[in-house]
Assembly symmetry: C2
Homo-oligomer: 193 residues x 2
DNA sequence: GTCTATATCTTGATAGAC
DNA sequence: GTCTATCAAGATATAGAC
């Protein structure tokens, strides 16, 4: 299987379509036919770039995780305080949800975990581990600097915040409302003061 | 469409199977063939009880919501304090997840919201609204009684807790770990003191 | 309530030409 | 890189017998 960084422009358009479809209807909710329609090519042309659906799924998640990681690094550079970093992190989710009630790719695939190829599942897991570790780190640094007070272990709080963010998107979509992760940062940060 | 309370024992076994399948692989992850295998009858026999998949989905969610509501009433009777009620509420989710990393039916269907029949979506929405209202009520009563301190509006906190619970199941499954909603009550209640 | 048989469509995937 | 043609399997669903 090729690496996501080596894909051609034609393949990238397919990955774009697949990413958008997974966000909206999930891995088991879209087909090669859907992708081909969105990109404007025929089904076998999609298979030419990604022989199996599993390979396509893997590339989608790998590229997503890579881009997300870049945003995390950017947040680290732009914000000095834990509160600032956590707020910016939550904003990533708010912005995603604000775009047509889009879910996090890995939130969607996490729910579908039992019904997707193992190779895709592995990538989803990596995304969550990376995010939980990054959040725990931000919380620990903030506590050491005396900016925030941790009433629970940092790892537990990190998991908790990530859960609330992913869950708020799921809830918002399920309730068919525009209110998604917008309040999560507010409530979470209030609990650290 | 018939009401969930009027289903025959044969139909109930089909609903059991469908509920378990939705929990595990989602609405778009199971087929009538899967149901027929689990129940031990043929596909057309499943259609005899539930002509369309949408009708089956509706009955699954209606029964689930009804049972869940009964548990909420029970919690109201058994526990006097807000903390006790919230802890018992969180335990409902923990117990579900502890059973083979099962998700909440409506958490799963909330994610799949864009890819399920409208009639099912309506039921999912009702479940979330009911739960959010119940939680907001518990929080309000607890605050009035002076048991807990609300740093944010009750409705916002209710949504937040529900998000964290649903999200923690999704996260746990995505990370393939047994740790699910167990810590949510702990962290949430700590933030109210 | 359950069955066999069947219809119709969609799905993921391949062969081979241009 | 894209196409037409094709396939085998699976999906939802119906007809009609027992």
């Amino acid at each position: 299987m090729k690496h996501f960084s080596e894909i051609t422009p034609a393949a990238a358009r397919i990955v774009d379509a697949a990413e958008s479809l997974i966000r909206s209807v999930g891995y088991n909710g879209f087909s090669y036919e859907d992708v081909s329609r969105m990109v404007g090519i025929r089904k076998p042309s999609v298979h030419h770039h990604f022989p199996t659906k599993g390979e396509l799924g893997v590339i989608v998640v790998q590229r997503y995780t890579h881009r997300f990681t870049e945003r995390l690094e950017e947040i680290g550079r732009l914000h000095e305080t834990a509160a600032g970093r956590l707020q910016a992190y939550c904003d990533l989710f708010s912005e995603t949800y604000a775009t047509g009630r889009s879910l996090c790719i890995c939130g969607m695939l996490g729910a579908e975990s039992n019904a997707i190829p193992d190779v895709v599942q592995v990538e989803v897991r990596r995304f969550f581990e990376d995010n939980a570790a990054w959040l725990a780190d931000v919380l620990k640094q903030g506590a050491q600097a005396g900016e925030i007070q941790l009433k629970c272990p940092a790892g537990m709080l990190a998991d908790y915040l990530l859960s609330a963010l992913e869950g708020s998107m799921l809830l918002g979509r399920g309730r068919q409302i525009d209110q998604g992760p917008q309040h999560v940062a507010e409530v979470f940060l209030a609990s650290l003061r």
